[in-house]
Amino acid sequence: MVTNSKHTVYKTQLAPGVSLTCVNAGRFKSSSITINFISTLNKKTASANALLPRVLRRGSINYPDMESLSALLDDLYGVRVEPIVRKKGEMHCVGFFVDFVDDRYLPGGENLLEEATKIACEILLYPAAKNGKLLDEYVQSEKSNLIDDIRASINDKRGYALDRLLEEMCADEAYGVGRLGSEAEAAKITCESLTAHHHHLLSSAKIELMYCGLASPERVENAFRSALKDLPHEKRNEAPKTTVILEPNSDAPRRVNETLDVTQGKLTMGFRLGNFMKDPDLPALMMLNAIYGGEISSKLFQNVRERLSLCYYVNSMVDKYKGIMIVTSGVDFSKCDDAQNEILSLLDEVKRGNISDTELTAARRSIINSINSALDRLGGLEGLYFDSTLNTPPYDPVTLSEKVLEVTKERIIDAASGIKLDTIYFLSGNGEENEAEADDDT
């Protein structure tokens, strides 16, 4: 049991490779549980991973279709059981997010924790099946939905440009694989292969169970022990490792230009964090990102958007597992070069230590505020504790956020010193407007 300045956190192992984390939080109207299977992100299995919870969610042995399952969940005051698929570095985490209203706001005697845990685990262990196989009807229908979702990534151009950058930049790394996998791999899945994949995950993947809410850890543990009593007790894999590439593999950054029918360009840039990742100083990395582009007070936002009006949005983010930083922005086609130059020159400012005390203070405040605010949301609370559980070594998210107060300018410069631009992806329009602007320049 760990107590930080916010929560009491109870961790236990239900079986080898099956961990439960209970975060005691009584300030919400509802509680959540998540069930997460952790495996290595991999081109071959990513789509099967993403598909599995969707197929399982279609029905269980006792509630074999959506009609009966919806009826049960509605009757439990709308318990939500949603498939979740997360990409954390090169770990692929799939399972269910379940949330339900706290008993104290309901007429009485509901015990939604036990009921919700039971149905979520039933879906997981005993999905609707025929002759020992998942129902082909469900597999085909959810496969088609998954393929639609993979194709739909093009609808959100900002996210699409980011996905394309990572595909290009990490073409030879697992990290280049999208959260939902690829259409080609999804198309190959059959009800036999998915059934086998289900058994494989159930018996070998590391399992992280999370609970956030008011119930006592004993009650949560009992609910899970009882609901998961038929889980195969075999040797489970260790948590997979993320391969960190310290440097870009060529001296000059790669540039990829593509066109689509857009009226605003999307400039996306990927960086490697360098030797810093050998022993990452996480609080310094958080500060670096907040000062450079992670917050409204950052250099990118204040200069590229506010002072120079070169873009509509601009921000930076880091993946602490993978050692990658990404800058995304929306720009006029004609302003792409100016924006890119400014984005790079502001990074140099950080490397040179051109950071004011005001910026340091604003960054510290923003980080502490955004972490504390996230902890005040049930989903955010789960996300932060889940993230910290996956890290090697695990850390306490509240204690870590408090450590940004001690981060000096020197540590931020250290964190920034090895950052190198790897790949630029620019999405521009294919319409006449772009050409007209090009003509104006001549």
């Binding site: 509605d74 009757d75 009226t263 955004s370």
Partner: protein, 422 residues
Amino acid sequence: MTHNQYTNLGEQVYSEKLSNGLSVFVVPKPGFYKKFAYFATNYGGVDRRFKIADKWIDTPAGVAHFLEHKLFETKDGNALDLLSQNGASPNAYTSNDLTAYYFECGDKFRENLEILLSFVSIPYFTPESVEKEQGIITQEIRMGEDDPDFNLYYGLLKSLYKHKPLRDSVAGTVESIGQITSELLYDCHRIFYNPSNMALCVVGDVDPADIFDTAHKTLPQQPGEVPLRDYGTSESLIPEVSRAEKAMDVSLPVFNAGLKINPVSCGKEKLKLEIISYMALELMLGHSSPLYLRLYADGQINSDFGFSVDSAAKTAYIVFGGEARDPQFVFAEVQKEILKICEGGADTELLKRIKKASMGSTIRAYNSFSAIASSISEGHFQDFDSFDAINILKAVTVDDILNFIADNIIPDHMAISIINPL
């Protein structure tokens, strides 16, 4: 100071109407770090023609949204900077009938609240800064033009309405915002940002008396005149055109369909109408409805499929839709389902379960500070207590829902907007 307790929800609200006409609401949330302040004016995209000092004034589309952007700029700099340097995350939005400025923070709440109240109530515009903002908003409008959802939604509203201002995007058009001047912004600010036309709502672990006091000290002391608005003559429930179609860069066809319903202008009846219409839509199209489950199982629609009820400019409308292999087919199936419910009645067991699930989601909504603040403000501007929702919901009867469907959900009143892949 008025104190209302809602024990079934574990919530309480302190409220006061200040001498300058501002209504202030405080929802204490002990145990939370974050504090949330929400300052709203009853002025949105549809408020384009109004009467003040006995004179009718017409303004171009997009002024409310333009003001929302410009107010962050103050004589001494930018309020966004000030707030973010203080660890707050500020933002704002303009909807059809309201503009809201808000921030969330932990420390320095009072200081941040003072900043919020001052920058919203003290305008500062120059011709140069207005021109610069025209550039930024042009970008935002362009971004909307790329967005299939935006095109879909306004495709539908332009089909439903003949002349109501709801037809136009809240941001306006590149042409309409070109007509905006600093004088016009000052005028509209004076008219709509007077305390009598506004509400302040604070959610978090704060002392209510301190909030009332801060608002009283920081804001202008004089109440103002609340302008009368004109949204044009009322329209029949028949849509202007029944179909709008467009091709864009999307992977699957998407559609929004909908219809106008009989509006209720304000008060508890309005909240009741909202709740009944949601329940009716859940019954017809919700994720537990036989129609949704059948269309989903047949692969016609996916879990994106959803609906909403909205009202503004003295009219109310329903929108439903999502991705669909064949939007026209799904649309026709919805129309058939409605006729079936009208003729054969509703599955009362299903309705009971929908009611329980709606209770769950209503209670859960109180997890969200922003949802609490925005629903209190909306209730204030439309004269209802948003905390009544749970009790109204409990009291809704099968007949309420069937009557609503029979009176409002007329298949011939529906229009559809479709975006097809290129």
